[in-house]
Amino acid sequence: MKSVGALFEILGLVDCAILKHEKENEFTVIHAPLGWFYWLFPNANVNHAINIDDNHSFISNFLLDANEFWLEPDSNQISSGIWSESIMAPSGGEKLLCLECVAAYANGEKLLVIKNAQTAHENKQETLQVARETLLSHDKILAQHDYLSQKLQGVIKQNSTVLELHLPIEQAIQNTEIGVIITDSEKTPLFSNLAAFSSFALDPVRTDTTPLAIVQQLIETQFPESSPVFLNDKSWNGELYWHCPPDFDKWLQVTIKPVKNHMGSTSHWIIAISDTTRLKHLLQKNENLMLKDALTGLPNRQYMWKFLEKKCLSNSPFNLLFIDILRFKRINELYGHTNGDKILKDIATKLLSIESNTCHVARIGSARFAVISLLNEYTDTSEQRVAARILYEDINEMMSEPFLTQKRTSYTIDSNMSVALYPEDTTDAESLVKAADMALTELQDNQDSNFQFYSIEMSKANEKRLQLEVKLKNAVDKDDFRIYLQPIIDTETERVVKAEALIRWTTPEGEMISPDVFIPIAEQTGLIIPLGNWVIRQVCDLLTYLREKKINIKLSINLSPKQVSDRYLFDFIKETAIQSGIDAQRLELELTEGVLLNNYDKAVSLLTSLRNMGVSISIDDFGTGYSSLSYLKNLPIDYLKIDRSFISELESNDDDRAIVLAILAMAKQLNISVIAEGVETKEQREFLNCHDCEEIQGFYYSKPIPVDEFVHFFRQQNG
């Protein structure tokens, strides 16, 4: 390597080791400083090869990114970030090394540079130490402030008059650093501690004003929209700036809380005041550190909050638009994190093209961006909606254009977008963000559109959903579920050959809640794991019960995406089957195509293990998803269940008939059996029978029924 010196200059490095990549984890040492490098690699020699294995776990981890970078370098270098580890020095004793790895590409050589990052580490630590201590103190003060005002509210509520406050409590309040004022319902101060006076540099004996009067005046001038703070019997919380030239200028966190009596009317008010001046200044000093997203350089989530809070104090309308990049994890899986990062940067660059004085872009989550679009103060709601839609269409067009990976592979991303309108939908930053978030959630199951305005109905539905979540949790704890069975019939013999186990939930109040409603909630809250395990246990017990009744058929169970991701699922099925003493061949598991594709690697390993155990696998709702031929060929699949949507109009719809025939022909070639779901008429049955569809399921024979009814049905049908 001729130009090590020149390379040093390019990289701006002095205390570093340079290794040349040879193959896999093998590198030749080109240059190494004495000391730390040889502590790290005791057997290394210049011009000789070394192996980087899992003992160097940080470097090994970085090599995953480095290997991607070397394949298609799009910049001079990539860095690992700083890490530190203790190494045994030859002189004895441990030394703490602070290091950083850089992958570089120069003159066709793949280089790994390991830098001594001691100084960079110290500098960064020095800056962030102050910033974080400040942040923690700030959080602590605010927490104390909230805690005190909340506690006082409770104490005063329990005492009919403040004069009855116990002496120790009064002393504690008198000595706290947080200013406390307690008034009666007419806002006449009954008690003010010393800190309340000192917050405004007042002498309690000589002053001709009161801390409360100053607080009221500051709120009136700085928060004109909240001026009737004491009128609406509601709490108020905010940061006030008190300026009293030439000596004082302070930032004060102020909370005002009403104390309600047993009749529900306000008997007292508590005002808590904390001085946050020092912390405010330190935080402002670190503002730059705080408000940028390191990867894209866009303003970050904290910036968005600040900006929204500021804009929510104005009278001008604006739109808050959220952009969610869908299945971003998949990009990282397919192309690696370096490409994932590249695509995020490209998205940021595209979004910056709409940045202007009235349009502000931020990255607010790993794959989520926000755009705040300010409008003229005279814009009415309908114009505001039109503006939001135009903005969406512009961004949607940008997002629809393909992105390129480092290898110039074209990649199209999918995105969902939602909008909340200020002040039409809501008037504070927090609920505005919630509103945009709710509208995004609404889009999750929407195949027809990727754009949604927030509406009040969403809040109502959300509230209802939260209540249902609580009920569901209780129901899981109390086993309030039942298993129903829907017979699956051999098309030719019309005998019951199998049944699908379906969960049913009746609340203690007698309300039947549809699985379409509670399964998605269970899926999102993680309750699907205990619920799914309950179903597996019940079905295993049911198989034992049916065997005793001389009914030897298979029962199938639906698996949800979260269950497939659950690393303990296979062990659970296996153990439960063994404990129940059932033959695993009597169990069948149903997965949708989406589950397979989103968790392909996990699904392959799970299905293979299940198949080895004797469990059969069917693909549910076939035809509605990707219907990929490759997975049908590669995965151990026994049955395809044709989705009911193709069956319902079989008699009248030529397209549906063609699709069903195509599925039947394809399955036959692949040696996979087919079950048609949702069969409701004799004509549908006849058609399916004529075209060799082996099994059918649907209301034509039976809806899902309780187990005892199923036993009865089985006996009737099978003779």
């Binding site: 899992d54 776990s57 940080f58 530190s84 602070c98 630590q125 962030l128 974080r132 923690l136 994890k329």
Partner: protein, 163 residues
């Protein structure tokens, strides 16, 4: 010997480094020193089946200055989310961290409620914390200062890492 990577995650100042240091070196210091990037420590832990060498990746606290870096989670056999019972917000942040981590790994995780020697300042009801803890494979109330449950917690993560 089996070697397993364990990541220690959590908001700033919850005591990730203190817990690791207490476990690895048996030392506790009252002075808060912010971690930069990742600090890697090793320690051999005996489990019922075999000895395991833990590679403990003590990560920089996640806050407004440092985002969550999923790359550091690659290859982790288990991870720990640390919260501080004297700071209510740390549980909220801990749960956000868990949810971000779950987008990248299904490795087992432990919830640690640290600083249990201090007064509990968070307003969460115990059943709320229990509900959050259900999303983890185990929960420990620890104190890096007194050493309470620190060894047990790391032993438990070692056992989970080889399951």
């Amino acid at each position: 010997m089996i070697q397993k990577k364990i990541c220690v995650l959590g908001a700033t100042g919850v005591g990730k480094t203190s817990l690791t240091r207490k476990f690895v070196d048996g030392i506790f210091s009252e002075k808060y020193l912010t971690t930069i990037g990742v600090k890697i420590d090793k320690k051999i832990v005996p489990t019922s089946s075999s000895d395991v060498q833990l590679m403990i990746w003590d990560m920089e606290g996640i806050d407004r200055y440092c985002g969550f870096n999923p790359k550091y989670l690659r290859g982790a056999s288990a991870f720990i989310v640390v919260t501080d019972q004297s700071r209510a917000q740390s549980l909220v942040e801990g749960m956000e961290i868990l949810s971000m981590a779950r987008e990248h790994t299904d490795a087992p995780a432990i919830l640690v409620v640290n600083k249990c020697d201090l007064d509990m300042k968070w307003h969460w009801r115990e059943d709320h914390v229990d509900t959050q803890a259900e999303l983890f494979q185990a929960r420990f109330n620890t104190s890096a200062k007194t050493g309470v449950q620190v060894n047990n917690m790391f032993k438990s993560i070692a056992a989970l890492s080889i399951e």
